[in-house]
């Protein structure tokens, strides 16, 4: 341990701790814009965290400067305050003064830090900033480099966390900015649209593409029958947009809010998550029995799909042909549901609420129109739904609990846990075990695949199949490690679950901000609580609405209708 004083307070912290962390441990919050310790990112780039260290000649960046025995630190001297204000003033002098109309307004770390350090005047004219072209080429994300402060967080997220290595600083000096390789637009690059860059960006320089206007227009159009589906993770995230603590389950209030916004039917992506388990479980059994390509890899995460299409196209035959639950829902809403209710599918408008920016890209993929229409019309992130609810003046926390509509609203606990890393694997193993052995697993909780370890493994004895080996990875950097094993023949798994985002969908590119591992853990906890305490059914094959769907419409898993509506193909792409 190292003893020092910070603002005359005695502090004792482990060796190697930075001044910034040491100060936080005694309740002193030094402003910072670039460092993100959880991601091991401290480039010392922004300089707003400067402090005074006795006998050091100049001010030091507290986020990279380690503590030393007997050190005397001042975090709040006049010299420090003035230096910080100058840093922020300099940053703002080359920044659009658009806060009131900026998508990041109210959630922008630059705004917050400017407020904390108290900048009240910028001496250069407000039009005098470097304007860069806005990249809104993709369905998923919008990049406005004029708002970039060169903190390089997105570069680290894309390279170190996601293993995509797409972003880089371009040039140097005042005009330097972060761009995709070769300054391409995102659509012309190997971007996976995972949105992890947007999750860490402290400003509005990378944000989700806002599609709320399209949804308002559909809701106001009396010729449209507007149905909505919500991904498993939304019920564990949406509360945060309204000040509820992370990990609060708001299923019933979310349903009420969606009704009040004017959706004609409130369904649930969990319904098709259960369906995915039936189709994918049967596909796995089919591959095992017929000597098909193994290990089989999950296909629910569109960021992951784009990643493997670019970086491991040779391994595409390993990927399950199942569409994601979002896309299965869209295809069935405009066929099964339309038929059952006698509604013209042309008038059905499907909206998804997803924790994910890549889902926007997925819904727009050209092959996603097996109903004869675009299967999912608009995808909103959790943040955009929060925005709509606020615009409508609805106080989410005060709402009564609502309930889902039939026939695409019923689900099992196995579906809810899709939102956490390992959840799809756990749900699939429950059903595969029951189908093969005719009995339930002795314990439905498969804890080996839960939690935030990057790569998890499990082995399960399943009747005639013998030992089934499974692996789970989340974050594309971890996916890369597992794919290298598969490519070199070192992976003797039968089944692999991959989610593009750290923590799975609870940590998706569309989640409420700011993000942290602690929040991911709490949200996952809420999903497991829904599975164990709230839902009476915990296995996908027990869902009566799914049984009815097969009896009335699909007939059998992997059958002709399923093949047409629920399965898909992939495209090899260059890097």
């Amino acid at each position: 341990m190292v003893a020092l004083t910070i603002d005359n307070l005695a502090v004792e912290v482990p060796e190697g701790t930075t001044i910034l962390e040491a100060a936080r441990s005694v309740g002193i919050h030094i402003p910072s814009l670039c460092t993100l310790p959880e991601m091991h990112h401290s480039p010392g780039a922004c300089r707003v965290c400067v402090v005074e260290v006795e006998r050091a000649r100049s001010l030091v960046a507290s986020c990279v400067y380690p503590v030393a025995k007997g050190m005397k630190v001042k975090t709040n001297s006049r010299r420090v305050r003035e230096a910080r204000a100058r840093v922020i003033e300099f940053m703002l002098s080359d920044h659009p003064r658009d806060c009131n109309i900026c998508q990041k307004h109210g959630n922008c770390e630059l705004q917050q830090v400017a407020e904390q350090v108290g900048v009240r005047e910028i001496t250069v004219p407000c039009t005098d900033f470097t304007v860069h072209d806005i990249d809104d080429s993709s369905e998923a994300l919008v990049r406005d480099a004029s708002k970039c402060i060169n903190c390089l967080r997105c570069v680290t997220a894309c390279a170190e966390v996601q293993g995509v290595f797409l972003l880089t600083p371009e040039g140097r000096g005042f005009n330097s900015r972060v761009v995709p390789a070769l300054a391409k637009n995102l659509v012309d690059s190997a971007c996976t649209f995972c949105g992890q860059c947007a999750v860490v960006c402290p400003t509005g320089a990378i944000v989700e593409k806002d599609h709320t206007d399209l949804v308002w227009a559909a809701l106001e159009d009396s010729t449209k029958h507007v149905v909505v589906q919500e991904a498993p993770a939304i019920r564990a995230q949406l509360g945060e947009e309204f000040g509820l603590p992370p990990g609060t389950l708001v299923t019933g209030k979310m349903i009420t809010a969606l009704r009040r916004l004017g959706f004609d039917r409130v369904f649930d992506t969990n319904f098709t998550a259960d369906l995915t388990i039936i189709e994918e479980g049967n596909e796995l059994l089919h591959r095992v029995k017929t000597g098909g390509k193994l290990p089989m890899i999950t296909s629910c995460s569109p960021g992951w799909i784009k990643f493997i299409e670019h970086f491991y196209p040779d391994l595409l035959p390993h990927v399950s042909t199942c569409k994601s639950p979002q896309q299965m829902f869209g295809a069935l809403a405009k066929t099964y549901y339309a038929e059952k209710e006698g509604i013209d599918p042309a008038s059905i408008f499907v909206v998804s609420i997803m924790p994910c920016t890549a889902k926007k890209y997925e819904a727009a993929r050209p092959e996603m129109n097996s109903s004869g229409y675009r299967d999912v019309d608009v995808v909103l992130t959790t943040r955009e739904l929060g925005r709509m609810i606020r615009q409508a003046g609805i106080d989410l926390a005060a709402l009564p609990e609502g309930d889902y509509d039939a026939p695409m609203g019923q689900y099992s606990g196995a579906a809810t846990i899709f939102g956490a890393t390992g959840g799809v694997m756990e749900a699939a193993l429950r059903t595969v075990y029951a189908v093969v052995t005719g009995k339930n697993l002795p314990s439905l909780d498969i804890t080996a695949v839960r939690g935030l370890d990057g790569i998890k493994e499990a082995a399960l004895e399943i009747g005639d199949l013998g030992e089934v080996k499974a692996a789970v990875a989340h974050g594309l950097g971890n996916a890369r490690k597992v794919m290298d094993m598969v490519a070199s023949g070192q992976a003797d798994y039968h089944f692999i679950e991959i989610m593009a985002c750290p923590g799975g969908c609870v940590g998706g590119g569309g989640q409420p901000l700011p993000a942290s591992d602690e929040k991911r853990r709490l949200r996952a906890g809420a999903l497991y609580q829904d599975d164990s305490d709230v839902q009476s059914l915990r296995q996908s094959h027990e869902n009566p609405s799914i049984q009815a769907l097969y009896d009335d419409f699909l007939k059998e898993p992997l059958g002709e209708k399923s093949h047409h509506l629920l399965h898909t193909h992939y495209t090899a792409r260059e890097v």
């Binding site: 290595f165 797409l166 371009e170 040039g171 390789a181 595409l316 035959p317």
Partner: protein
Amino acid sequence: MEAVAVSLREPVDEFSPEQWGKIDAIIAEHRTKPGALIPVLEQVQGISGYLPEVIQRRVSRGLGIPLAQVYGVVTFYSFFTMKPKGRHQIRVCLGTACHVRGGHQVERRLEEELGIQPGEVDKDRLFSLDIVRCVGCCGLAPVMVVDEDTHQQVKTAKLDQILAKYRDQEEVHHG
């Protein structure tokens, strides 16, 4: 499953098989060495004259270094360029003395003659034009440098003749 390769490569190959051979040899020689990127780019630019997308992709693949990192380095150092240079590089001096004694007229005349701005190359890639600050012969301003030759007390009326000399060289060379 259908496998469609989406090609992002540039359609025309402007480099000769011989140039590609040399480029690939440079990459191969450095493949396993750490810190190879900058020396490789330097040597490759010596062969290809500049570092367009095709070359950066080739280096990225060959060295197993992400394209973004290659691009970041190329844009960071001013001695790397993504713009082609002409076979003859014209540098017009706009240092104080040249500025005062008509350097701008020379520059403007060249821009008209070649149809390009400073930093660009003409459509035949014969001449590229750049501005420099003082080449150290202020007594004989205005000065322009073409390749290794310094032309002093340049008169705009004589520019045609100077350019013609280099054009002729090309014809002999290619004839």
